[in-house]
């Protein structure tokens, strides 16, 4: 479905809204059919809704949900459907009538269905059991902690930084004073595209008259596009040239769950120490993130961090 895309970040809300709309539509349809005297039996309506939810979860969501998750949703929706069909004694009777009819073999058709089911169910169960007994080698699911607890201090190029109090020396106003409010006012706008707010010297890193904060943003951007874009991508969304080759995949800075959730000093620690500097829960053995202290100076690291916040339109978190 290219015309209606699941957008990263909005996906859970989109999913709930779509499912709700579909269920409402089914309810309205059911109501109208009933009015017209063509009501669908509760039994089939219930099965239909359950199958629809399963198909929706399986084919609409990407990357695909694992079977275990779909099984949980399947059970929950089954419970919901049971509550719906057993609202009153009469409805419950109506719901189970087709089942009992088959068990009793009421008509020749029912008897035929019963015969087929009696044979098919044990075969189906046997096949399912064989499949689960057969040794299978699916990719193991390994969950890593994306934002592990940071250390209190980190030593970069011979200098110790206390993460609680360290500040980005380039996050400065026109007077050259540390000023997060000023810099936050000049990040990209919070709309689709996240474009610079204006072409003026306070918002545009490429304006020849740019100075202070926004000039440092450009210098950070130059470093980003000489070093980081190969993995983190030209739009900082973790879809760079080689993103497909690595596992874990590079971080997506445009996602509200990455740098937007972090203090700038945490990012400083992560950038300086890289994958090899992660604690065990972060899978240091698998990450190809360079320890940037081997490639960049401290000043360059601070500038590139500032560029990342500017370009994605996020503010770093502060301690207060």
């Amino acid at each position: 479905m290219t015309w209606l895309k699941l957008v990263e970040g909005y996906m859970p809300m989109q999913m709930i809204a779509e499912l709700t709309l579909c269920i409402l539509f089914f309810a309205a349809l059911n109501y109208m059919l009933k009015k017209a005297g063509m009501g669908i039996p509760k039994f089939w309506a219930g099965i239909g809704v359950w199958v629809f939810i399963q198909l929706y979860l399986k084919y609409r969501i990407y990357p695909p949900l694992p079977f275990s998750i779909r099984a949980i949703y399947g059970t929950v929706s089954l419970c919901g459907i049971f509550m719906w069909v057993s609202g009153s004694q009469a409805e419950w009777e109506e719901f189970r009538r087709p089942i009992l009819d088959v068990l009793d073999g009421k008509t020749p058709l029912h008897r035929a269905v019963r015969a087929v089911l009696l044979v098919a169910l044990p075969i189906g169960l046997g096949a399912f059991a064989f499949n689960s007994f057969k040794p299978s080698f699916e990719e193991p699911i390994e969950l890593r902690t994306v934002h592990p607890a940071p250390p209190a201090t980190t030593k970069v190029h011979g200098k110790t930084y206390v993460l609680q109090v360290a500040q980005n020396p380039y996050r400065v106003n026109k007077e050259g004073k540390y000023d997060q409010e000023y810099t936050n006012a000049h990040i990209t706008e919070q709309a689709m595209g996240r474009l610079m707010k204006s072409l003026g010297p306070e918002d545009n890193p490429w304006n020849p008259n740019a100075e202070g904060y926004i000039k440092y943003v450009r210098e950070g951007g130059e470093i980003f596009f000489q070093n980081c874009h190969f993995c983190h991508g030209d739009n900082l969304n973790g879809r760079g040239l080689w993103a497909y080759a690595f596992n874990p995949i590079p971080a997506n800075f445009t996602d509200a769950g990455t740098i937007a959730q972090l203090q700038e000093t945490f990012v400083f620690w992560r950038v300086a120490k890289g994958g090899i500097g992660l604690p065990g829960e972060g899978f240091p053995w698998a990450s190809v993130m360079p320890p940037w202290e081997q490639h960049l100076t401290v000043d360059e690291i601070w500038k590139v961090i500032m560029f990342e916040y500017w370009h994605t339109g996020y503010y770093p978190r502060t301690w207060d």
Binding site: A129, N235, R239, A286
Partner: protein, 615 residues
């Protein structure tokens, strides 16, 4: 000048031209029902093309809006003046496009013409150019923002040409949507395989189309080395528009050529039908689930049949590359393990696509990795395991001169192996960017092509998912590395860290290189090793376990040596055991159990209806 000459000629052959044109017109209408060709003024228009009016000029507001998009997103690669000299440029190959001359590769317009802004350039921005650093901007920029930025680029940054210049610019547009593709029958594919020889495609693209025909002498309009496309990796075709197996994209490239590159347009020298045959053949070569041997391009009817039926690889919509499966299965075979790629027994086990990225963690970083994937297959018997590695490499590289360092040494900066500096030369000062990675592509010293794989030593003792570091292990957990070099050497090393020199082991004596051959742009290397060695040093390969494994590949002509190489993520090798008896016994028992339950339910229901049970 050229134009006036053409006009005189037109007058001279007016009647004949008219006759030819009407015959052409009628036949085209007959073949492609409803597809209209305007033949009134220009008889020279190649088949399938139509003249079109130039696009209208964008508004100043659009250009101004586009400037804001450009200086937020594009300037970093394409530069302030659009000369393809942004901060990123000197570490990229291919370099970012220099817009100034108005030369664009992917077009529906005839060779040499400007592209259609709202079709060609819009789709390039929307879908990106795979195989280069240009990403798809769909979902990032709105449609309006994409059109705005194109207004800015085409009006302000393309300086040598002008879309509204009616005197010099023509738009002869391929009617791709109106031409019905020819079905990819075995006959069409076979005909295509003959045509790529007749039309000399193979002179650049190579006998099997792996881009190895003329890998080193081609240059683009700016003088940078450029390599012919590898037809086996359609997901890297610049014009694949996030739809790599779509034959129309190949037909388009073939019909209009790639401006600024040695790839010409074949619109004048082939019929539409011939172009479909070639496109079908090229498309059929793009890798499928099973490897198809095309015998050096001598496609027989049987091969054409197989090609026409190959099942396309599943493409991951998040990366637009083939989907990765991180489990590499190995299956049991009786007797000796296969020693060449034609052994039938390879068919019982799927081959795995292993994606490779440049090594960019430690110096010297590899910003241009010419090897971007390898294929791996594995089989085992009671004592040994065999791996078949196959990967495309346009050049066979064997070490030319003795090197000063020892094979166990890894820190080669002291010997002058260095990474590309960031550069930053501007086009106006230095049009050839001679210090850029693109300019240096053909000047590297030639080292060995190599491949290596590593297992953790004593992986059995590691609590999953813990592993030694992907990059040659670490001081706590060492790794068992097997490395093959194109000069014929095979080594087994113990690795204890990315910057720690290897320790050589004599386990290599027990490892056999059963085949190592470079043919038509592809390496086939088959390596067999014992399942077990010394437990303390050599990884034990055990049945039914997930054994971490990762890969390294070097392209000698890319100057790859030491840490300058391509690297993969962790994969898992799994030796699939035979199905245990329990897997047959329990399902049968469960089915019988269910039959008993069914009987019980039916009896109970029947009794209840007869009124014997009153509850």
């Amino acid at each position: 000048m050229c134009k006036t000459e053409q006009k005189n000629e037109h007058q001279g052959v007016w009647f004949r031209g008219l006759a030819v044109a009407s015959v052409l017109f009628v036949s085209v209408v007959l073949i492609f029902g409803g597809f209209a060709v305007s033949f009134a003024q220009e008889e020279e228009i190649p088949e399938g093309f139509v003249k079109q009016q130039p696009p209208s000029a964008p508004t100043p507001e659009q250009i101004e809006a586009g400037k804001r998009v450009y200086f937020t997103k594009c300037v970093w690669c394409h530069g302030v003046k659009g000369s393809g000299d942004g901060p990123a440029a000197d570490r990229l190959w291919p370099r970012p496009r220099n817009f100034n001359a108005g030369t664009f590769k992917i077009r529906h317009t005839a060779s040499g013409e400007l592209p259609l802004i709202d079709v060609d350039l819009f789709r390039t921005v929307t879908h990106g150019l795979p195989g280069s650093a240009m990403p798809p901007w769909d979902g990032i920029l709105t449609e309006e923002q994409r059109r705005d930025v194109l207004a800015f680029v085409t009006e302000e940054l393309v300086v040598d040409r002008d879309w509204q210049d009616e005197e010099f610019e023509t738009f002869t547009v391929l009617q791709l949507d109106k031409i019905q593709p020819k079905e990819a029958t075995p006959e069409s594919i076979k005909r295509g395989s003959e045509l790529v020889v007749e039309k000399k495609c193979i002179e650049c693209h190579g006998l099997e189309g792996r881009g190895d025909g003329n890998a080193f002498n081609l240059k683009d309009d700016w003088g940078f080395p450029i390599q012919p496309a590898d037809w086996h990796k359609c997901w890297n075709f610049r014009g694949s528009r996030q739809d790599p197996y779509n034959v129309r994209n190949i037909f388009r490239t073939f019909s209009t050529g790639l401006n600024g590159t040695p790839m010409p347009s074949f619109a004048d020298s082939t019929t539409i039908e011939e172009r479909w045959d070639i496109a079908n053949y090229v498309n059929s070569l793009c890798e499928r689930e099973k490897d198809i041997d095309i015998a050096g391009g001598k496609v027989t009817e049987e091969i054409a049949e197989t090609l026409s039926k190959g099942k396309a690889l599943e493409i991951d919509p998040l990366t637009d590359k083939p989907k990765i499966n991180f489990v590499i299965p190995s299956k049991y075979v009786e007797g000796d393990l296969p020693s060449d790629e034609h052994d039938e027994r390879w068919n019982i086990v799927p081959r795995r696509w292993v994606a490779m990225g440049g090594q960019i963690t430690h110096k010297p970083r590899n910003f241009v990795n010419r090897i971007d994937d390898i294929w791996v297959q594995s089989l085992y018997n009671d004592t040994h395991i065999v791996f078949m590695f196959r990967w495309d490499d346009r050049t066979k590289s064997v070490l030319q001169e003795e090197v000063e360092w020892d094979p166990t040494e890894v820190n080669l900066e002291d010997y002058g192996v260095e990474e590309q500096p960031p550069g930053g030369s501007l086009f106006e000062d230095d049009p050839f960017h001679s210090e850029s990675i693109a300019a240096k592509q053909n000047q590297y010293p030639v080292y060995n092509d190599s491949i290596a794989f590593q297992f953790p030593v004593k992986w059995q003792e590691l609590p999953a998912p813990q592993k030694p570091r992907y990059f040659w292990g670490d001081e706590k957990f060492s790794v068992d590395i097997t490395k093959w070099d194109a000069d014929g050497n095979l080594y087994t090393f113990t690795g204890t860290g990315w910057d720690q020199d290897f320790e050589e082991r004599d386990f290599a004596d027990q490892i056999e290189v059963k085949k190592a051959e470079w043919k038509d742009g592809r390496w086939t290397v088959i390596i067999q090793r014992p399942l077990k060695g010394d437990y303390e040093e050599d990884a034990y390969i055990e049945l039914g376990k997930y054994i971490p494994m990762n890969f390294f590949a070097w392209d000698g002509h890319n100057g790859d040596v030491g840490r300058k190489m391509a690297v993969s993520a962790f994969y898992y090798l799994v030796l699939e055991p035979e199905i245990p008896t329990e897997a047959y016994v329990y399902p049968v028992l469960m089915a019988i159990g269910l039959v008993i339950v069914e009987g019980w339910v039916l009896v109970r229901r029947a009794n209840r209806r007869k009124g014997k049970i009153t509850t």
